[in-house]
C-alpha cells in the first residue's frame, strides 16, 4: 500500500463512519445558512478586488476630476453610479460566469435551500455595492467637507447617513435582483458584459446619474422617474438636504425602488437558471452525432 493510501486509510479509520446512520438528523437552519452564504459571497466579491475597484474607484476618479471646477460635484449621482455598476454589471457578469462554469449547478445539488443561494448572492452584492457608494460619499467628505452639493443646507448628518444607507440597500437590491432575472437570458460569459452595459448606460444617462441633461424631452424625464436610478439619486439627495420636520426619504422614490426590488426578485425566482446553457447545447450535439 502506498503512503497516500495508508494516510487515506487512517483517515477513514478516524472518521467513525463515512456513511451516516439512517436515523433522522436535523438539517442546519435556513437563517444560519443564509448568513453563511452572504459572508461567503461578500468574501468572494472583496477578494477578487474588481467589484470595489470599479464600484468605488470610478466614482472617486470622477470626484477628483471635478475638484477645482466652478460647480460642486453631484455626489449622490456618483455614489449611485458606483453602486449600480457593482450591483448590475459586475454582479451580472459574475453570475453568468458562475452559471456557465457549473458553480450554480454544483450548489443546486447541495442541501442548501435554493432561495438561500441566490438571495445570499443578491444581498451580498447589495452590501458590497453600498460599501462602494459609501466610499464615494466618504471621498466627497474628504474633498469637500460635510457641506457638499449646491447649497449651504446640504449637510450630511448621522441620521441622514443612515437613511442614505437604507435607501442604497433597497436600490442595490433592486438592481441586483433585476440583473438576476435578466442573466437567465444571457447564454455566454462573452455576451454578459455587452448585454448588461447596453441596458445600463441608457438608463443611467436618462436618469442623470453622471450629468443632468436639461434638453431631455418631458416623456423621457417622466420615464426616468419610474426607472431604478433616478429615484435612488433623488432619495439620496433628499436625505442629504433634509430639513427638520420632513421625512428623511421621499416616499414615492422609495416605493418605486421597492417595486423594482420586488419585481426583480419575482423575476429572479421565476426565471433563475442553474444549469449552464453550454451543457444543454453540448448534450444535444453529442446525441445528434
Amino acid at each position: 500500500m502506498t503512503d497516500t493510501a495508508t494516510t487515506a486509510a487512517s483517515a477513514v479509520a478516524d472518521a467513525t463512519n463515512l456513511v451516516p446512520s439512517t436515523k433522522a438528523v436535523r438539517l442546519p437552519g435556513a437563517g444560519k445558512l443564509l448568513l453563511a452564504q452572504i459572508r461567503y459571497q461578500v468574501r468572494l466579491l472583496i477578494s477578487s478586488g474588481r467589484a470595489i475597484a470599479v464600484g468605488a474607484g470610478l466614482p472617486v476618479i470622477l470626484l477628483v476630476a471635478s475638484k477645482g471646477k466652478d460647480t460642486r460635484p453631484d455626489v449622490a449621482g456618483y455614489a449611485v453610479f458606483g453602486l449600480t455598476i457593482t450591483a448590475w454589471s459586475t454582479y451580472g457578469v459574475r453570475l453568468v460566469a458562475a452559471r456557465e462554469d457549473g458553480v450554480l449547478k454544483r450548489w443546486r445539488a447541495t442541501p442548501l435551500p435554493r432561495w438561500c443561494y441566490f438571495l445570499g448572492r443578491i444581498l451580498a452584492t447589495a452590501l458590497v455595492a453600498v460599501l462602494a457608494g459609501a466610499v464615494t460619499v466618504a471621498a466627497a467628505l474628504v474633498f469637500y467637507g460635510s457641506h457638499f452639493g449646491d447649497g449651504p443646507d446640504t449637510q450630511l448628518t448621522v441620521t441622514a447617513a443612515l437613511a442614505i444607507v437604507a435607501v442604497l440597500l433597497v436600490g442595490a437590491f433592486a438592481w441586483a435582483a433585476t440583473a438576476t432575472a435578466l442573466t437567465s437570458a444571457i447564454p455566454t460569459v462573452e455576451a454578459a458584459f455587452p448585454t448588461l452595459i447596453f441596458i445600463y448606460f441608457p438608463v443611467i444617462i436618462v436618469s442623470g446619474v453622471l450629468f443632468t441633461n436639461l434638453s431631455e424631452p418631458h416623456w423621457l424625464s417622466t420615464l426616468a422617474t419610474y426607472l431604478p436610478a433616478q429615484p435612488l439619486i433623488d432619495a439620496v439627495t433628499h436625505a442629504v438636504r433634509h430639513t427638520s420636520g420632513a421625512p428623511f426619504l421621499p416616499v414615492r422614490d422609495v416605493i418605486v425602488l421597492a417595486c423594482w426590488a420586488a419585481g426583480g426578485l419575482l423575476g429572479a425566482i421565476v426565471l433563475f437558471r442553474w444549469e449552464p446553457h453550454r451543457s444543454t447545447q453540448r448534450r444535444a450535439a453529442r446525441i445528434q452525432q
Binding site: V25, A109, R283
Partner: protein, 310 residues
C-alpha cells in the same frame, strides 16, 4: 430488508425525437460500485443527471434512496454526494475554507481535516482553489462530494484529463469510500478505471444497455488470450510464413495472435524465431483485455496495437 439504494426501471429520456436514454433498467446494491461505460453520446451523463435530480425522465421510474430524484428535497440531497463532469468551484477561497463552507450545509459532516487526508490534499489546505492543478481541483470536487457523508455518491468522469499519478490518488480515495460502505455510481471513459474500482459494469451504447456484468465476466467476453510480439526492425511481413503473416497488425510491425490454442500458436512462433535466430524479448502472452471486451461489446473493431494501461 435493506432498501436498494439505486433503482432504475425502463428509463427513457428524449430530446425531441432523439432518445438519449432508451429503456434502461438496472439496480445498484448497497455498498456496490457500479461503473457505467460507453462512448460519447451513449447516455451516461444523461442517466447520471437523472439520478442526481438535475433532469426528469421522459418515461420510466428512477428511485435513489427510495425517492424520485427530481422531487428530492433538502433531506434527500443531504444523503447524496456528487462530482460533476467538470470542475465547478469558485477560485478565490482556500481549499479548507471551501470545504468548511460545504460541510456547514450537512447535518453530520466529516471534519474538514479528515476529508483533506482522505483525498490527499492536507498540504494544500491553505492554497487558493484557483492556484491548484487540474488534478488537485478534481480532488477538491471529490472532497466536496463526500464531506456530507453521502450514502450514495455519483462520480461523472472524475479522472478525465488527469495524469496517471493524479488518477491513482483519486482512485485511492474512491476505494476507501467503497470499503467504508458508500454506494457509488461512476461514469468513465477509462476501461482500467472500471477494472480497478468497479464491482459491476454497465456498458451503454446508443442509449441502451449492451452489457450488465462484472469486470471479470466482461473481460471473458473479449475472446481468447492474446499473443503480442513486436518484430525486430530488420524483419518485414515478407519474411513471415503465411501462418504468422495473417496475424500482422495494420502497421505491419507487430504480430497480434488471438487464438484459443495458445500453446500451438506459441510453438509456431518460437520455432520460426528459432530458425531465424531472433530474440523473443518483448513477447507478451496475456488474457483478453477489458478494453478489447468493451470494444467488442459496443461493436467497434478491436485495435491491433498493444494496449497501454498506464
Amino acid at each position: 430488508m435493506a432498501m436498494t439504494p439505486v433503482v432504475v426501471d425502463h428509463l427513457v429520456k428524449q430530446y425531441g425525437d432523439l432518445a438519449a436514454v432508451d429503456d434502461v433498467s438496472f439496480e445498484v446494491l448497497d455498498g456496490q460500485l457500479l461503473a457505467v461505460l460507453g462512448p460519447n453520446g451513449a447516455g451516461k451523463t444523461t442517466t447520471l443527471e437523472i439520478l442526481e435530480g438535475f433532469s426528469a425522465p421522459t418515461a420510466g421510474t428512477v428511485r435513489v434512496l427510495g425517492t424520485d430524484p427530481h422531487r428530492g428535497d433538502r433531506a434527500w440531497r443531504a444523503r447524496i454526494g456528487l462530482v460533476l463532469q467538470s470542475t465547478s468551484l469558485d477560485a478565490e477561497l482556500t481549499v479548507a475554507d471551501t470545504l468548511g463552507l460545504f460541510a456547514g450545509l450537512y447535518p453530520v459532516p466529516l471534519r474538514v481535516g479528515e476529508v483533506l487526508e482522505l483525498v490527499d490534499l492536507i498540504d494544500d489546505a491553505q492554497t487558493r482553489v484557483g492556484a491548484l492543478s487540474g488534478g488537485q481541483r478534481r480532488r477538491v470536487d471529490l472532497a466536496i462530494g463526500i464531506v456530507g457523508r453521502p450514502e450514495v455518491l455519483f462520480l461523472d468522469e472524475p479522472t478525465t484529463g488527469l495524469d496517471p499519478e493524479a488518477r491513482r490518488r483519486t482512485w485511492a480515495g474512491v476505494e476507501h469510500l467503497t470499503s467504508a460502505g458508500t454506494t457509488v455510481v461512476l461514469t468513465t471513459h477509462y476501461i482500467d478505471e472500471a477494472d480497478q474500482l468497479a464491482d459491476r459494469v454497465i456498458v451503454l451504447a446508443g442509449g441502451r444497455i449492451v452489457a450488465d456484468t462484472t469486470p471479470g465476466e466482461l473481460r471473458r467476453r473479449g475472446g481468447p488470450s492474446t499473443i503480442r510480439y513486436r518484430l525486430p526492425d530488420h524483419i518485414t511481413g515478407a519474411d513471415l510464413p503465411a501462418g504468422l503473416a495473417r496475424h500482422l497488425d495494420t502497421k505491419g510491425r507487430s504480430l497480434v495472435i488471438r487464438n484459443t490454442d495458445v500453446a500451438a500458436s506459441l510453438r509456431g512462433l518460437i520455432s520460426w524465431a528459432d530458425r531465424r535466430h531472433l530474440d523473443l524479448a518483448g513477447l507478451e502472452v496475456g488474457p483478453p483485455s477489458l478494453e478489447d471486451a468493451y470494444l467488442t461489446t459496443i461493436g467497434e473493431p478491436l485495435t491491433s496495437e498493444v494496449h497501454s494501461h498506464d
